[in-house]
Structure formats: structure tokens, C-alpha cells
């Protein structure tokens, strides 16, 4: 693990980052996929995770949302802290999950529900919000991602980019402290990538705290506050995007970036 001299904005104004991961480790059937992962995410910042496939980026994201449980290490988001070594119960994991919301690569919208219902399902069914209030909020959110007119359609009637924007609205409706994006544009046709990235950029500008797993180097460069490069289950390098992406210190980072930026 590389020592960083001056990690960018690792501290909030009050001295506490929103997310703090310490010593996170995870193995699947004896194969180590995460080892001693550590990082912090300050409130209102955007963190991008990059790295080759199988490097553990997505697993880190899933551990933050408790879709996956780590074997060791602690994850703290806001005032909820989970020590995976203590085999936390369902209730604690549920509270951790409540701090964040996930946008999936394959969007995973509910095909049998309308766009509006997809967005209101969490607030109404889980959080117990009155339907009227939840629908008003959902319509506003759909408007903000540019889908004001699609509320009563079903997911199959939308394009891939529109579906992913509904996925973002669904996550936002939960009013989470933290937004997680798991390769949100990887499954899209190239001409649809832009509309999704634009929405994400808007969110960053609004000051949302986000952790994004992506291969969109342009997005990382221009929007993020910090970049983590992962390989083989460890964080190899971490720093401001300008530093990590244009002048990496580690050889592995350099090799990866060369492959991504000059594929041919």
C-alpha cells in the first residue's frame, strides 16, 4: 500500500469524513478478493474507483451497501459503524444499508412496475412515506433527471440511458447520505453514455457524496475529487485525479492507464 502525502479533502469541516473504511478484507471460498482496504470519503465529494476487472472495486462498493459482508475490517458511514469481524446482525447491516443507495450496472429496475412506482416503492413500502408525498417527490426527481414525461411508462418502453436515469432517481428517492454507482454506463450503447454522465455530474455539482466504479476516465478526471486505483484486492494508489490519472506513481497504475487510454 502506497503512502499518500496529501490526500485531497479527506477531512470534513468538522473533522469527520462521511465514509471511513479501515482494514476491510473479504475472501470468496478461500480466494482473497479484498485485503486491508482503507479510504475515507469526505462529505460532498466524489470518489472514483478504477482498476482492472477482478480487482475488487465492485466488492468494495457492495460491502459499503452491505449487499456483501466483509470478513474483517470496519465500515462507517455517517453515524452507523459496522465491524465485520464481529459478525454483525441483520439489523445493524440494515442500518448501514439505509445510509446509501446503489445504482446498478444492469439498472435492475422492477419490470412489472411503472417508472413512477419504481421510484416510490422504497419510500412508500420501506420508509412508510404517504403515497401522495412520495409521488410528488418522485415526479420532481424524474423531472430532474430529464424524464418528467415518462412516469407512467414501464421500463421496457425506455431506452437504456433512460432506464439508468430512472435507476438514479430510484436511488435518490431514498434520500441517502451516500450514492453508490456500480459501472453505471458499462452496459449502455456509446451514444447513451453521455446523458447518464451528465446527470451524475449534476449530482456532483449539487454536492452529493458519491462513490463511483467506472471506466470513464474523462468523468473521473473532470468530476471526481479523489481517485482510488485498485488491483488484486488492494488499493494501490490514491490521490487527486490529476495526480493519479496523469502522473501515477505506481508502475501498475501506469500500465493499467496505458491499456485503458490507448487500447489499440
Amino acid at each position: 500500500m502506497s503512502e499518500q502525502q496529501d490526500p485531497p479533502r479527506t477531512e470534513d469541516v468538522d473533522g469527520q469524513p462521511l465514509v471511513e473504511v479501515v482494514g476491510l478484507a473479504k475472501a470468496f471460498g478461500g480466494v482473497e478478493v479484498l485485503r486491508d482496504v482503507e479510504f475515507t470519503v469526505p462529505t460532498g465529494s466524489v470518489t472514483v474507483l478504477i482498476g482492472p476487472s477482478g480487482s475488487g472495486k465492485t466488492t468494495v462498493l457492495r460491502c459499503l451497501n452491505a449487499l456483501e459482508t466483509g470478513d474483517a475490517g470496519t465500515v462507517r458511514i455517517g453515524d452507523v459503524s459496522v465491524d465485520y469481524a464481529q459478525h454483525p446482525g441483520k439489523r445493524v447491516l440494515g442500518r448501514l444499508r439505509g445510509q446509501s443507495a446503489m445504482v446498478f450496472q444492469a439498472h435492475n429496475l422492477f419490470p412489472h412496475l411503472t417508472v413512477l412506482r419504481n421510484v416510490t416503492e422504497g419510500p412508500v413500502v420501506v420508509q412508510g412515506k404517504p403515497r401522495e408525498e412520495a409521488e410528488a417527490q418522485a415526479r420532481a426527481l424524474l423531472e430532474s433527471v430529464g424524464l418528467g414525461g415518462k412516469a407512467d411508462q414501464h421500463p421496457y418502453q425506455l431506452s437504456g440511458g433512460q432506464q439508468q436515469r430512472v435507476g438514479i432517481a430510484r436511488a435518490l428517492a431514498l434520500q441517502p447520505e451516500l450514492l453508490l454507482f456500480d459501472e453505471p454506463t458499462s452496459a449502455l450503447d456509446p451514444e447513451l453514455v453521455g446523458e447518464v454522465l451528465a446527470v451524475m455530474k449534476d449530482l456532483a455539482v449539487q454536492g452529493r457524496t458519491m462513490v463511483v466504479v467506472t471506466h470513464e476516465m474523462r468523468f473521473a478526471q473532470s468530476v471526481s475529487d479523489q481517485v482510488l486505483f485498485m488491483d488484486g484486492g488492494v488499493v494501490v494508489e490514491r490521490g487527486e485525479p490529476a495526480a493519479v490519472l496523469t502522473d501515477p506513481r505506481e508502475a501498475r497504475t501506469r500500465t493499467f492507464l496505458q491499456r485503458v487510454l490507448n487500447p489499440i
Binding site: 443507495a101 446503489m102 446498478f104 435492475n108 429496475l109 412496475l113
Partner: protein, 500 residues
């Protein structure tokens, strides 16, 4: 099927009588059987209802009637109690007696040593001769000995089956005399053995000249009422009453009404003349008269039986499917075992076990309930696998998406997974439902008066099997057509959110 039926029943009867408080448990004082019946004021009588002229439904008004029916009514009157008839196929009539579905069998039960040892038998109320019926053009059988190597059709538990077997014949099991004689006519068997009275009734009703009485078996048989072995006080009272109705000429009167002679005692010989009954009905007339009661049976038995069993069965299936998907080994194994038992045993056997078997351990259900339980458990086993597969067909991402927005297991299942699984499950579940509609016809063996049973009852005294079973088939078909239509609509509805 008949053989299997007989086998299962045989086992059950043995099991029941083994566990029942039979024998000489109360040999000292009077057993309570008579007192119980007098207290309730009702004698429950088991009878076939398909064996004219002894016990059958009068085609004119569909009332249960016949020589046996009137005879036991006369006896009951002397006892000062009412009669309540329970109709059961002959092959399950003794099992039903032991399971206390009724108190007494009035169905031309022929006295023999084996029955004498197992049941409390009354004095004789009919005497008849055994005869062998063959096709009219069949000259190969002229005596009982000629049955050797031939095939006969008999009720497997009737004494005539024993007579035929003892003579060296192969016995095909049928339900009652009318089916037996039909098989003879169709050339599927060589002969059927029965008593001369039943045969005379058949020839009289149908005017059928294609069969004949080829020979007498040489034995005279005495018919008696059968009761449970322990019910000695009831038997004694029945005998006393029987003696009274014989003495005051009532029984002779009943006998002459049905046979034109006194068959209640002594030598009997069939008389071919006197058409005591109305002229045979035309087939159309019969269908017209039976169509109503059959529709009623469909509405009152077949359809509710199907609907209730299917709904209950789906609930069982969902629970079993979820158990099967459980990560807890024991739970999953339990579900596997259940599915394996249900799918690995015949539905008919499941029905019999629940209706005739469970009373042995003190669980007695009325016929409809027993049928609902059996069909529900059966649907549960088959539909569990359908539902399991349908749940597995919902992508993992749907579970995860529901989980990340904070839904628990039950909520995810109810709101996200099952609505999507339904699309996959509807076509195979419709198959299960349509099979169930037709399987309900099996309920007739546990005394549920459903559609097929009504057809059987109507066909028995008139011998018009083809017409009436044809009508029954049409009813089943119509029900299934309606269900197929509903299935189509439902599938269309569930497909609406999927890209085409």
C-alpha cells in the same frame, strides 16, 4: 385399477379392524351400538345405489329405491328409527363400514364363512341362485366347471368373484354387475357370475337378448345385512325386526313389488314376464333428465372441490417451494421429501389413505373434506416445483435491487419476485388446474357425489353408459375450455410489461 383398489382396501380393513375395539371386548354386558342408534334416532345404511332392482335410483324421480332399500326401511321402522343412506361403491363398502361411515350394509351381501367371521351378519332376507351369464351365441360354457381358464368380470370383493376364482376362472375387477355384463356383451370377458335376481332385472329392463344365462353355479346364496363385529346388540335387534317384517308379510309384499314373487325365503326362480317398471326410457329422454342433476353436481361438488383444493394447494406449494429454496439443510430436505412422496404415489391411494386410513388413528373427515385435503396436498406437491422454478427464473439483480432499497425477504417476495414469477408459473399451473378438474372424478370413490358419480348412478339401472359418460365428458370439457380461456386472458395481462 380395481385390483389396486382391492389391495389397498384390504390392507386398510385389516389395519382398521386390528385397531378397532372389536371382538369380545364387551362380551359380558350389552354393547352400546343399539343404544347409540336409538339415541340418535338414525340408522346409517351403506348401499351402492347402482344395483337394480336392489338398490338404485329410480330414473323417474332420481330417488334411491329398491328391494334392499325398502327392506331395511321396514326393519328400521320396527326399530323405531329413521334411515339415512350413504352411497358407496361395493368395493369400498366394507372399508366404509369399518371406518364407521355407516352402521349397516344393505346391499345383497352374500353370507359366507369369511364374512361371518369378520362382521356381525343378520338373518337372511333374500335367497337366490348363482348363475353364469355369457353372450347368447357363446356355447362354450354350460356348467360351472367350464369357467376354468375363462375370464369373468366381477366386483373384486364380491363373493361371486370367489365363486368364479374357485372354478378356475381369471377375474377382471369391475364396479358392480352392470359394468360386468357390459364387458360380457363387448366380448372383453367370457362371462360374469351373479345371482339370478340381478340377471332377471337386467334382462327385464333392457330387453337385451345378446346375453343369456348359460348355467347355474349350483349354489344357493343367502343375502344378509352386515354390521361391525362388535355391534352385537344392533344385530340382535335387526334380527328381531326382520322376523317381524317377515311374519306380518311386509317383506313378501316388497319382494313381490320388485320381483313378482317372494324371494325373501326359500326357492327362487326368475320370472321373465311382468314389466313391473315403466317402459325403458329413450336415450335422449334419459340424457335430458340427467343433464340437470349432473350440472348441479358439477356446481356443487366438482367446481368447489377444484377451486378450494387449488387455492389451498397453491398456498401449500408456495410454502414448500420456499422451504425447498431454503439454505437450511433440514428444511430443504423436508420439502424434498414431501414433494417426492406426493409425486411418487398415486392420487387414488392418497385419497384412500386419508378417507379410509386416517379413521384408524382417530381422524375422521367427511367425504368432501377428505377429498379437499387429498387434492390440496397433491396440488401442493406438484405446484411446489413449478413455483420454485418460477422464483428461480427471476434474476438475482431483482432481489439485490429490492434489498438495497431496504426491503426484507417477505416484502421482496410479495412485491417484487412473485409478481414476476407469476408470468413464468401461469402456463404450467394452468396445466395442474386442468388436471385437477378431471382428477376430482376420483372423489366418487370416497363417497363424494360429484359429476361422474351422478353419471354412474344414472347409467347403472338403464345400462346407457355411453350416453351418460359422454355427457359427463362434455361437462368436464366445457369446464376445462372455460379455464383455458381464463388462462389466455391472464397470460396476456401478465405479459403486458414485457417487451415483445
Amino acid at each position: 385399477m380395481g385390483l389396486l383398489l382391492a389391495l389397498v382396501l384390504g390392507l386398510l380393513v385389516t389395519a382398521c379392524s386390528g385397531g378397532a375395539p372389536a371382538g369380545d371386548a364387551s362380551s359380558g354386558g350389552a354393547d352400546p351400538s343399539l343404544q347409540k342408534i336409538k339415541d340418535v334416532g338414525v340408522l346409517r345404511v351403506g348401499t351402492e345405489g347402482t344395483y337394480a332392482p336392489f338398490t338404485y335410483h329410480d330414473p323417474a324421480n332420481n330417488q334411491l329405491t329398491g328391494y334392499d332399500v325398502e327392506a331395511i326401511e321396514a326393519v328400521a321402522a320396527k326399530l323405531g328409527v329413521r334411515t339415512e343412506f350413504v352411497e358407496a361403491p361395493f368395493d369400498s363398502i366394507f372399508a366404509s363400514l369399518q371406518a364407521e361411515r355407516f352402521d349397516l350394509v344393505a346391499n345383497q351381501v352374500t353370507k359366507n364363512p369369511q364374512r361371518d367371521a369378520t362382521y356381525a351378519l343378520s338373518d337372511t332376507y333374500t335367497v337366490s341362485d348363482g348363475v353364469i351369464v355369457t353372450r347368447a351365441d357363446d356355447g362354450s360354457i354350460t356348467s360351472l366347471a367350464d369357467l376354468k381358464g375363462k375370464t369373468t368380470a366381477q366386483s373384486s370383493t364380491s363373493n361371486w368373484a370367489q365363486v368364479a376364482k374357485d372354478a378356475g376362472a381369471k377375474v377382471e375387477a369391475v364396479e358392480g354387475f352392470t359394468q360386468g355384463v357390459t364387458l360380457v356383451k363387448q366380448g372383453r370377458v367370457d362371462a360374469t357370475v351373479n345371482d339370478n335376481l340381478a340377471v332377471a332385472e337386467y334382462t327385464k329392463t333392457t330387453g337385451d337378448t345378446s346375453v343369456k344365462i348359460a348355467a347355474k353355479t349350483g349354489d344357493t346364496s343367502e343375502q344378509v345385512f352386515a354390521m361391525r363385529k362388535a355391534d352385537v346388540s344392533l344385530r340382535d335387534a335387526v334380527n328381531t325386526a326382520l322376523a317381524q317384517v317377515k311374519q306380518d308379510g311386509q317383506l313378501t309384499q316388497i319382494s313381490e313389488k320388485y320381483f313378482g314373487q317372494d324371494v325373501s325365503q326359500g326357492e327362487a326362480s326368475p320370472q321373465q314376464e311382468q314389466p313391473a317398471q315403466a317402459a325403458p326410457q329413450s336415450t335422449w329422454q334419459l340424457i335430458k333428465e340427467t343433464a340437470g342433476p349432473m350440472a348441479l353436481a358439477a356446481l356443487k361438488a366438482t367446481i368447489p372441490l377444484t377451486a378450494i383444493s387449488f387455492v389451498v394447494g397453491l398456498v401449500i406449494a408456495l410454502v414448500v417451494a420456499l422451504m425447498r429454496l431454503s439454505r437450511v439443510g433440514v428444511v430443504s430436505q423436508l420439502a424434498r421429501f414431501y414433494i417426492s412422496v406426493i409425486r411418487g404415489t398415486p392420487l387414488l391411494v392418497q385419497l384412500f389413505l386419508i378417507f379410509y386410513g386416517l379413521p384408524a388413528i382417530g381422524l375422521t373427515f367427511n367425504p368432501f373434506t377428505a377429498a379437499v385435503i387429498a387434492f390440496s396436498l397433491n396440488v401442493g406437491g406438484y405446484a411446489a416445483e413449478i413455483i420454485r422454478a418460477a422464483i428461480l427464473s427471476v434474476p438475482r439483480g431483482q432481489w439485490e435491487a429490492a434489498q438495497t432499497i431496504g426491503m426484507g425477504y417477505a416484502t421482496t417476495l410479495r412485491r417484487i419476485v412473485l409478481p414476476q414469477a407469476a408470468r413464468t408459473a401461469v402456463p404450467p399451473l394452468s396445466n395442474t388446474l386442468i388436471s385437477l378438474v378431471k382428477d376430482t372424478s376420483l372423489a366418487s370413490v370416497v363417497l363424494v357425489t360429484e359429476l361422474l358419480r351422478v353419471a354412474q348412478v344414472a347409467a347403472a339401472p338403464t345400462f346407457k353408459f355411453f350416453a351418460l359418460y359422454g355427457v359427463a365428458a362434455a361437462y368436464y370439457w366445457v369446464i376445462c375450455l372455460v379455464l383455458s380461456f381464463v388462462q389466455g386472458r391472464l397470460e396476456h395481462r401478465l405479459e403486458r410489461y414485457v417487451a415483445r
